[in-house]
């Protein structure tokens, strides 16, 4: 069985073959591969016996269900009001300078993608960002540089 089929059948075992298995399936594929390909979505549709358009419609609605190729580490920096007030702009520029990518882009080695996001619920600790599932708060240019250097040196 292909890796994808295993992921799908694992989730179907947990959630049944109904449509409510769809979100967990999509999420576990993104967790494994960083994003969903068209082939993935066609395959899921077959397994759940729904149309591929339905799968795509759901996937494209949610900001964490990526349908474009992304790096292994997705940086999501909060751009909502209090993070913005507390200096998100400078932090963002530091990230862009270090990684040489703009918002929406992925580094050539496919290690990092940079995205802006709306409030992530850390407004009292802004500026804040997520890298994959982990959060970083009270960011300054210095602090974000340290965080990224650690990822560049110590994480694959």
């Amino acid at each position: 069985m292909s890796e994808l089929k295993t992921v799908i059948s694992d989730q179907i075992k947990k959630h049944g073959k109904g449509r409510d298995a769809l979100m967990p399936i999509l999420q576990s594929i993104v967790e494994k591969n960083n994003y969903l390909t068209n082939e993935n979505m066609v395959e899921i549709a077959k397994e759940l016996d729904i149309s591929a358009a339905d799968v795509y419609g759901t996937a494209s609605f949610y900001s964490f269900l990526e349908t474009e190729e992304r790096g292994r580490y997705v940086i999501r920096i909060c751009k909502s009001i209090t993070c913005d007030m507390k200096g998100k702009g400078k932090v963002l520029r530091t990230i862009q300078d270090m990684l040489k990518i703009k918002i929406g882009e992925t580094t050539q080695n496919k290690k990092f993608s940079l995205l802006e996001t709306n409030c992530i619920g850390l407004c009292d600790q802004g500026p804040a960002m997520l890298i994959n599932d982990d959060f970083y708060n009270h960011l300054t240019p210095e602090k974000v540089r340290e965080v990224l250097v650690d990822y560049i040196r110590n994480k694959n």
Binding site: G18, R19, D20, A21, L22, M23, P24, L26, Q27, G57, T58, F61, Y62, S63, F64, L65, K79, S80, I81, T82, D84, M85, T117, N118, C119, I120, G121, L122, C123, D124, Q125, G126, L130, D133, D134, F135
Partner: protein, 387 residues
Amino acid sequence: MTKKQLKRVDIILSPYSVSPYQVLINTVKRSKDEVIKEMINSGLRGRGGAGFPTGLKWKLASEQISDEKYIICNADEGEPGTFKDRKILSEVPRKVFSGMAIAGWATNSTKGVVYLRREYKYMVADLEKEIEVFNNKAKEIGLDFSINIFLGAGAYVCGEETALIESMEGKRGEPRNKPPYPIQNGFKGKPTIVGNVETFASASMVCRYGADEYVKFGTNDQHGSKLFSISGDSPKEGVHELELGMSIEDFVHEFGDGDTKAVQVGGVAGFCVPRKHFKTTIIGEGQTTGGATMIFNSTRSMYHVLHNYLDFFVEESCGQCTPCRVGTQQLLKGIEAVKLGEKEPEYLEQLIKLSQTMKVASKCGLGQSVANSFASIVTNFKEEMIY
């Protein structure tokens, strides 16, 4: 009006002096009707924003006849400036699960779900451990109720209860028409109570203290304590538990930095209150009950603030209905045009009218509430919109 002392309370976030599961055990020994009545008498209103009376919601759900019912804890918390539910779930999750279980027992529901926003995935491991403790406890006391987590995937509008249900059903998170309400036709078509994290924790506190004690907190209109997420230009950013019913003046005195020019109450879906109204505005009355308060000092451009809010609404509108989809975009373009001098200042009046139209013509609370912050900022800070 008499000036009310700003009183701090410590009910929800205090450590477990009495085990929330002991509260559950004591409560399920009583009659269901009596507990629902207690909830109604407590005056507790939903803490997710809409402020619907919790006891009434439980009563209506209990009257539904169905082979299955669901209790969903709404932990989608996406409103900019709101982070109290994160704090509750990390510090006192047992109060939440105890409240969910009491709701389940009182309405004959056996399944509970915590809908957790994707951005909080780092909390899942700890929460799952706590949920296991709960599920074992429920078995031990012979209560037919279990809880699991459903992880969202990143969409503010999924905090709206019917969009949340759509999302759990594997669909796009587009709000449904109401009625029917979730208590009639919710998850998988079954009666479903959707309640906020803080609401369930408060419900457990009502059962612990009894309605009579609980109503002693707060003003006539709103009872109990409330968590406020405080952010912005404040030396005391964070979550604070306060009695309902204080004036913004007292609030600013306590939490401002001495130079406060405006306070946003109820998150971006709420109202922006300028300094001249601090004395006469009471926090909690007539606003949304989410408890997000953002403080702006005199260095902040209110044009910039409004622009940031509108960016948020444009992106988070699900696009399903035209007044909201097009309206949010037009408001954003409109304030930009006035700022650039491409439109006359009078155009702002037209934009306010547009926002009022969105209030009546939009399908869900997202589009309906844009007018709150839009009109309050444009009206009170008109110069800043123009120059």
